[in-house]
């Protein structure tokens, strides 16, 4: 019977080409708008490290007085003082302080220009914490962290550029005039959003291709390439700044269980209380532990544009559906005589439901195909509205294709319920009744 109704549905599409075109376009546009904006929303609200997002915690502590805080929330970054205290306490399974740096790679070949690479200074633990895959070699050791060693981990792209993709472990590269020994080359690692540092990246950006020990970067007085916020003048010079209340370091702790997290939070609160006793903080402990999803949410990584346009698109789809309800109603009611005859010839209500829902389904399917075309075009055009770093993440993959078609058919079926119900109410007709 399904095939029969489907065939009837297709035939019906051709019958009122204008009405059909209208419905198909309404569904197509509505679904396409929703899918395009959804593709962006999906990319921006992505969980970049699902296997560990509830074990990794961003650490915050209020080192400023309440007036300097944003709605009572501790600042989104730490001072050097606190970050070092946490590192030394070593209370988590793994932990790292990190900040973006901007060194340039000076190629050995003097005829080549210096290369800029997105870089971070952090601890060796970070590679295991963030599940970063290695192509060659591995992370540097904790001993090398402690020894403030001149070691480096580079990305695949840089390795291709400098060593033609060969295993470069043990070789040396020059950053800003200082030599570093390569301990490892990482493979594909492009978490989006860049969960470990949305504060300085806005959440999205090119993959990070170079890492050096945090301790080494401090020794070389490398300033942050990201934000530095001070609530009061730090005084002049590197040391004054380093020991000031300026915040510029992100801090992550790996706490595998809820109990670990609770214990860490207790310790953190205790640390803040200690600072209060010591007179550094003149306020009660105010600390936060946020896991990856909570952190991204708190950092408002999903741009408001994405949310607003998704909402507007959904509203648009809703209007298209209301429109479709009306048009389907007109289309079905115009066929009351046919329904009457079918009922007289033995069609039960259920069969009328089936016929008209399947007919609506074919409208939805056609609308879905149109929607798919428009979605494809729209995804190509996402770069017009959104930042390139976000636009490149919005792609038309298999799941989006399937979702587009399913959404179109389901939405149309939803819209068809009332018109179909009305159609099924048509009494078996003996004669064509005219009004």
């Amino acid at each position: 019977m399904f095939a029969y109704y489907f065939q009837l549905g297709l035939r019906s599409l051709r019958r009122n080409p204008l009405l059909t075109a209208l419905m198909v376009m309404a569904i197509g546009f509505g679904v396409a708008a929703s899918m395009i904006t959804y593709s962006v929303f999906r990319a921006t609200s992505n969980n970049p490290i699902p296997q560990k997002s509830d074990q990794l915690y961003a650490v915050q502590i209020a080192n400023w007085k309440a007036e300097d805080l944003d709605q009572g929330e501790p600042p989104p970054a730490l001072t050097y003082t606190d970050a070092m205290a946490f590192m030394q306490a070593h209370k988590a399974k793994r932990q790292t302080a990190l900040y973006p740096i901007a060194p340039s790679v000076i190629p050995a070949d003097a005829s080549r220009l210096p290369i800029e690479e997105n870089s971070y200074a952090w601890y060796g633990d970070a590679f295991a914490m963030f599940d970063i895959p290695f192509l060659y070699g591995g992370p540097w050791t904790q001993a090398q962290d402690d020894a403030r060693a001149a070691v480096v981990v580079i990305g695949k792209k840089l390795n291709d550029k400098l060593f033609n993709g060969k295993d470069s472990v043990g070789k040396t590269i020059n950053l800003d005039g200082h030599d570093y020994r390569i301990t490892g080359v990482i493979g594909e690692w492009d978490p989006q959003p860049l969960f470990f540092d949305p504060v300085n990246t806005g959440g999205f950006g090119d993959p990070i291709g170079l890492f050096i020990p945090f301790t080494r970067a401090i020794d070389l007085q490398m300033t942050t390439a990201g934000n530095n916020n001070c609530n009061e003048t730090p005084g002049t010079g590197w040391d004054n700044w380093l020991h000031s209340e300026c915040i510029w370091i992100e801090y992550w702790a790996e706490l595998p269980t809820q109990a670990d997290a609770d214990a860490y939070k207790r310790w953190l609160t205790g640390y803040a209380a200690e600072q209060q006793r010591a007179g550094r903080f003149k306020w009660a402990p105010n600390v936060r532990l946020r896991n990856v999803t909570e952190w991204l949410d708190f950092q408002k990584v999903v741009p408001p544009e994405s949310k607003i346009s998704l909402l507007v698109s959904l509203g648009f789809l809703l209007i298209c559906l209301v429109n479709t309800i009306g048009l389907l109603l007109a289309k079905f009611m115009r066929r009351s005589p046919e329904i009457g005859v079918r009922r007289a010839l033995g069609a039960s209500r259920r069969e009328i439901y089936a016929q008209f829902l399947i007919e609506a389904g074919t409208v939805g399917l056609t609308g879905g195909v149109l929607g798919l075309l428009l979605t494809g075009l729209g995804v190509l055009g996402v770069g017009w509205v959104f930042d390139e770093q976000i636009a490149r993440l919005a792609t038309l993959d298999v799941s989006l294709i399937a979702l587009t078609i399913v959404a179109a058919v389901l939405a149309t079926l939803l819209a068809a319920f009332y018109p179909t119900w009305r159609a099924a109410q048509v009494q078996p007709a003996w004669q064509l009744k005219s009004n």
């Binding site: 209208l22 309404a26 901007a102 000076i106 290369i115 607003i308 809703l318 048009l327 115009r334």
Partner: protein, 410 residues
């Protein structure tokens, strides 16, 4: 409007269709009002002038490689001299930031040293006596910096300077009586005053976001060049030379000193590109909302045409009877127009409420302003007109139903 009562009676018998059209009008109004409002908000500052002469202006981001902070002043000086000597270059300057760049230095200032509350938030451009010429900013009072007033300073050592140039917006904010020239200002937390020696007509901050909109033109020019690895050159070219210099300038800089990085992306940009990239999401959002509005209105109009056509088809006989009983074509036409107006009126009342409700929700969840009622009023009128326009074709068709239709049996 003579036949409102019978029309209402007839509409009662077409509840579903009536409700659907009204609902569609209501939802369309809600979305179109808010979308138009978003467009207006987004495009409002698109056209905001930076205060610079934006034509013939080139920006170059520069980063020294392996250079000690103390060495950068001489490197910078060499660069600037080379740039200013280039044929086709009018002037060039070095600055930490410039309008629409996206990143920069902001602080709060005051007219007294001890005031706890900030009087004005402002951005600082660290630059030299060539800045006004290179930027093409207009000095409306006072004087430019003298070469002797320019010094190099480490960003971490910077305190204050004896003299500053401010924008008119900031001057008026600090000294509303217009007497700012020659008066002083204090950077928050500092006790050394800076004397305002010049006022420029306008100079925008580096940021375009909503958060910076309440100090969008509060700018201070500091006669200090920052040591360190980062900086941007602003190069003003002679007319017609911009394209050539876009390629020639980075080449010259590499020739002058190869130990530098000029980023591949966004390293060398004409100011037109800077503006385009700074407002990209605003413009994109406006375009997106515009397209949504247009398609939405078209779909709503098409929906009205579709449903009304169906009604007309259903009521052919009835229309024929009316015609037979003496109704003129005009009567039939006005019947359908009035009917649509009544439905539309119902729709826009609900729609106006929805529009305001939706806006309140957006205000509470996003950085958005309250919807101006003017937009709702304009939307109401637009949708009523749209409805009348959409119903015109089917109504005309109805008015052409011949009276003889009354005698047809089916």
């Amino acid at each position: 409007m003579l036949q409102i009562k019978p029309i209402l009676a007839a509409l009662k018998r077409h509840k579903a269709g009536t409700v659907l059209i009204a609902l569609q009008i209501a939802l369309t109004l809600a979305i179109v009002c808010n979308a138009l409002f978003i467009i207006q908000q987004r495009t409002e500052h698109l056209s905001r002038p930076t205060g610079m002469t934006e034509t013939n202006l080139l920006t170059v981001a520069n980063r020294w490689v392996g250079a000690d902070d103390k060495a950068t002043p001489s490197l910078g000086k060499t660069d600037l001299e080379a740039l200013r000597r280039m044929p086709g270059v009018v002037d060039a300057t070095l600055t930490n930031s410039y309008p629409l760049r996206g990143g920069g230095w902001s602080t709060s200032v005051n007219t007294t040293p001890e005031a706890k509350k900030e009087m004005a938030h402002t951005t600082l451009y660290f630059t030299d006596d060539h800045a006004l010429a290179a930027m093409g900013a207009k000095l409306v009072a006072g004087r430019n910096f003298r070469p002797s007033e320019i010094e190099w300073v480490d960003a971490k050592e910077f305190q204050t300077t004896p003299v500053v140039i401010v924008t008119k917006a900031l001057a008026d904010k600090l000294y509303p009586d217009g007497s700012a020239l020659g008066k002083v200002l204090y950077h928050s937390g500092h006790t050394k005053p800076s004397t305002i020696i010049g006022i420029v007509e306008r100079l925008q901050v580096p940021w375009t976001g909503t958060w910076a909109s309440n100090f969008a033109e509060n700018t201070i020019l500091i006669p200090r060049l920052l040591t360190g690895n980062f900086g941007s050159y602003l190069v003003r070219t002679q007319p017609g030379q911009l394209e050539r210099l876009t390629k020639a300038v980075p080449k010259l800089l590499i020739q002058t000193n190869r130990m530098r990085v000029i980023p591949e992306e966004r390293g060398v940009r004409t100011f037109a590109q800077v503006r385009e990239q700074a407002y990209k999401s605003d413009r994109g959002m406006a375009i997106l909302m515009g397209v949504v509005c247009a398609v939405l209105l078209a779909i709503t109009a098409a929906g009205i045409v579709g449903l009304t056509s169906f009604w007309v088809g259903q009521r052919r006989k009835q229309i024929g009877v009316r015609r037979a009983l003496g109704a003129t074509k005009h009567d039939i036409l006005s019947y359908f127009l009035t009917e649509n107006l009544l439905i539309g009126a119902g729709g826009v009342i609900v729609g106006a409420a929805l529009a305001i409700g939706m806006n309140l929700w957006l205000v509470s969840h996003f950085e958005m302003e309250r919807l101006s009622l003017l937009y709702v009023a304009a939307g109401v009128i637009a949708l009523l007109l749209l409805g009348q326009g959409a119903v015109l074709a089917p109504a005309m068709k109805a008015s052409r139903v011949p009276p003889v239709e009354a005698t047809r049996s089916v």
